[in-house]
């Protein structure tokens, strides 16, 4: 088998969980906040952007998978606007940053799929989270005397495993639509990029220059 890809999974909320590794290996994982409590949305967004940038730079994942936010209408309006903005905004900003860093292999995974894959049923969080948690312990992905035993972390681990299974069908499952979509998107992105880049070499240089200049203020 060729090298399994490095996968980074992010469960993005105001407190987020992350997990990364190659399918088959024991993943690293953790949880944290993108910004201190009561921070402005700007601070949170920037925290997320920085997190992604750093991951891409230092860990160099082959794939990034983010947990999809639940549609607001679903929760039957049971969520404040500001919560919504964060829940929707985080994956959005993360994707944007990845795109800006030319990391185009980003996909999005639904909670329900992750759960059914990982614990066999799509239960509501109250029930599912402890199950997920236990399974993570069982798998030895976190140890019971670990410092961080949060659900954010174990949820991310579940997501990571799901992503691995889906992205590396040779390890088990037949591919399903996440993979297909990722391929589709990748092709579309690549094509679009090609088209754009092909226009002129000049355009490339301008773009590159612009990007660099944006950041030299730091």
């Amino acid at each position: 088998m060729t090298d399994a890809p490095k996968i980074l999974f992010v469960d993005a909320a105001s407190r987020y969980g992350w997990a990364r590794g190659r399918p088959g290996e024991k993943p690293e994982s953790g949880s944290a906040r993108f910004a201190p409590e009561d921070s402005s949305q700007g601070a949170i967004a920037w925290g997320a952007m920085r997190f992604v940038a750093e991951q891409i730079q230092s860990y160099r994942p082959d794939e990034i998978v983010v947990e999809a936010p639940l549609p607001a209408t679903l929760v039957n309006g049971k969520t404040t606007v500001s919560t919504q903005e964060i829940l929707m905004g985080l994956p959005f900003a993360i994707q944007g940053m990845a795109y800006g860093l030319q990391m185009y292999r980003v996909s999005v995974a639904r909670v329900s799929k992750i759960r059914t894959h990982f614990i066999g049923k799509n239960a509501k969080g109250e029930i599912a989270k402890p199950m997920v948690w236990r399974k993570c312990i069982a798998l030895g992905w976190i140890s019971a005397n670990d410092e961080d035993l949060s659900h954010d972390r174990t949820d991310a681990l579940a997501g990571w495993h799901y992503a691995g299974t889906v992205l590396c069908p040779q390890l088990a499952q037949p591919i399903d639509d996440l993979f297909v979509k990722a391929e589709e998107r990748k092709r579309r992105e690549a094509a679009a990029a090609d088209q754009r880049l092909a226009k002129t070499e000049q355009a490339i240089r301008e773009e590159s220059e612009r990007r660099r200049s944006i950041m030299e203020k730091f």
Copy 2:
């Protein structure tokens, strides 16, 4: 009077409108897309982030005001998830980028307030937009044979004027809660930043280094 501040207003949607200038002056304005049609969310987000970065860098506004997204529940569920993600995500990402570039004077304005301020009533878009449009013409902010006569543009102009009125009370209105909130937030941000920075000079240097290194790949 001291120099009126340079205000940048953005009406952020997949097709966005912008307007900028100092209150009292004739504003510049326009509309465009953050990314070609059918682009991934990542592309759109990055487009927005780049736009903001460039504005901050080259125009150096004193204030940035973004149009607030309407809560999903409001639209009575009449909005797709992806639309939601974009509508909520754009302002979020914009604020994040601004924050990252240390531009903390960012506020958010509600459509209803803008409209009532600008045309005296909070009518539905179908009715309001043409009214706004006419008023912009009347004010000479766009000329009838202009190339871009889109509502995105005129909406942004209305927003800009509202922002100006609110942020420069000396020109007319008493301050209202947008200003107050901006001040509050600014103070909070500043305090938080101070606190953080005060911890150690070392932290500052690390942070700075990290930021720079994130971007040197460009």
